[in-house]
Symmetry: C2
């Protein structure tokens, strides 16, 4: 799937910043592909992009309206449908990662056909995914893993890609979730892939690579999350990573969605990920810990990084606050870091 850019980002009439996190993520990481934002008069939020109507956005070059909103239930509401119909008429494609598919709404399907536009449902996996094999493949791959869901794996991955490119190293972000797919224009919606094809979908997403560049693969879930550990395991084996970065939120009271169940210790979690990753990547190594310290003040954040970094003997940083230089230094320090493949 390739979604035409640039984007017009949808805010609609959202009031809660959490509801527009997909639009916000795209604005933060791909400002180069965002021509503006669409919001109604009563919308109190902004991404600090030019506010535009649909015709105006088309005139400014926009190709796709991204419905980067997450309302309760992931449903397509009536207001969303009306706006999408107007956007199609104006000449925009529509992209969304809601549970309810754009293509299953007859009015949208009909309007897309009529106006020659395309509906991009990013949560629909490809139909030609192979079963994974674990066969060694060439290339440098880094996977972000985590102690929990939603601890910053996408942010960390994108920061690492930016950091590598800033050092002149070729790098590509490989998205595995809906926001990441919309940020990068393609990827695998891993949580919607059928169980038997999880590792195969990642082998397809990040195939053999013969330059010296890096595929930075967005992690999902946690090996210690009872709801999703199987997803994390399939991703780990499919990624065949040369390097892991562990992501963690030190202020999280319990695993996401599981009151009463605490997060694993970072060192324990890292050891389990390395052990499991060795099945398809025997020489895998950890190169850093990325903390999400957004709930902490500057001093507490620095202390958390020092404490955890010392405990696991790895560079530890909040990518958003402190950058990823220390992690990249570790990643690039050894001459040979890719998965070794016999000739």
């Amino acid at each position: 799937m390739t979604i035409p850019t640039p984007y017009l980002l949808y805010l609609g009439d959202s009031a809660d910043p959490a509801d527009v996190k997909t639009s916000r993520g795209i604005a933060a990481f791909r400002p180069d592909v965002c021509v503006g934002e669409f919001r109604h008069e009563d919308c109190a939020l902004t991404l600090n992009l030019p506010r535009m109507g649909f015709e105006q956005a088309v005139a400014a070059g926009a190709k796709t309206l991204v419905l980067g909103v997450a309302n309760a239930g992931g449903k397509l509401g009536e207001a969303l449908i009306e706006d999408a119909l107007a956007a199609l008429k104006a000449g925009l494609d529509i992209a969304a990662g809601l549970h309810q598919r754009l293509a299953n709404e007859p009015r949208l399907a009909e309007a897309a056909l009529k106006h020659g536009r395309t509906l991009h449902d990013v949560r629909v996996p490809a139909s030609d995914i192979p079963v994974g094999t674990g066969f060694p493949r060439a290339g440098n791959r880094l996977l972000t893993v985590g102690t929990d869901c939603s601890v910053g794996k996408m942010y960390t991955s994108l920061s690492l890609v930016d950091g590598l490119r800033a050092r002149g190293v070729s790098a590509d972000f490989r998205a595995t979730g809906q926001t990441g797919i919309l940020v990068s224009g393609n990827g695998v919606p891993l949580d919607a892939v059928v169980a038997d094809f999880m590792s195969g979908s990642i082998e397809q997403l990040a195939p053999a690579r013969n330059d010296d560049g890096w595929d930075v693969i967005e992690g999902q879930g946690s090996l210690f999350h009872p709801s999703f550990a199987g997803v994390s395991m399939g991703l780990l084996h499919g990624a065949q990573p040369a390097a892991l970065v562990m992501c963690h939120d030190p202020s999280r009271a319990h695993l996401r969605g599981i009151p009463g169940r605490s997060l694993p210790d970072v060192a324990e979690c890292l050891a389990a990920n390395l052990e499991a990753a060795r099945l398809t990547s025997p020489n895998v190594r950890a190169v850093g810990v990325a903390l999400n310290t957004s709930a902490m003040d500057e001093d507490s954040a620095r202390r958390a990084c020092e404490t955890i970094g010392a405990a696991v003997q790895l560079p530890c940083s909040d990518p958003y606050r402190m950058g990823v230089d220390s992690i990249l230094d570790r990643l690039l320090e050894s001459g040979k870091s890719s998965v070794e493949v016999a000739a």
Copy 2:
């Protein structure tokens, strides 16, 4: 079960016994519903059932042709489609558990309509599966795990259920694969469940149980199989097992479908399964090893059981050849074996 019996079991032109495990499993565990087998001239395999053509099978009372073959990826090949079309014409329903659905092949759908027959896709999961939680639930649950795919987890599970019942202990088989579902009439086609819902589907399959009986849950794949370990992990966490039985085929040269990759050591595999299982079942214990010694003579089989049993300090037996009494003795020896749930 809504699939009409008796069955005609399909072998086609399969050459590898592992490819016909569904047909073989049904023949072994439900001989009462099998009137015969269908195989081509060049098929070297047999289930020791009468060989029949489709018309002959209908005359003998067969109602459904079971396409009990399982290639990696679960695709419908051209030969399979041709045979299924002939069977529909002769008056048989078709049942299959391939990933590629019978109903999605236009020629089969059309022929079924024309001849008034039904296509039964057993690999279609329910639509109301919740996300798993790992919350402790009451009940005795045993899960069979394995060093590889197709090493006898279903056989072992069914043998354990029979053995428990023979001792007067209430027990139920919980199927997680197509063969198990065809044998028992219900279950979860785990490998076809969408990734995010794997552990939840098993929590739904084997819910809280308040008698002293056992749910014996059929395992899938292996934590050491690079194609399917994520499925095994989701199953392990969802099962929340009080007891594990490790299944292994000592004569297997490499992991199924992965030439050159050897099977893990039984002790190492058992340790990894226990470690992962503790996430949702802290007091889980191993109670035995079940070997598939079908490729070995009697003496070699006995020696293999002795050697492996001694190495892991557990009862070790081939359920098919030697029964499961030693494993059941270990399972039932301690007074309290269920998952402990706080009041």
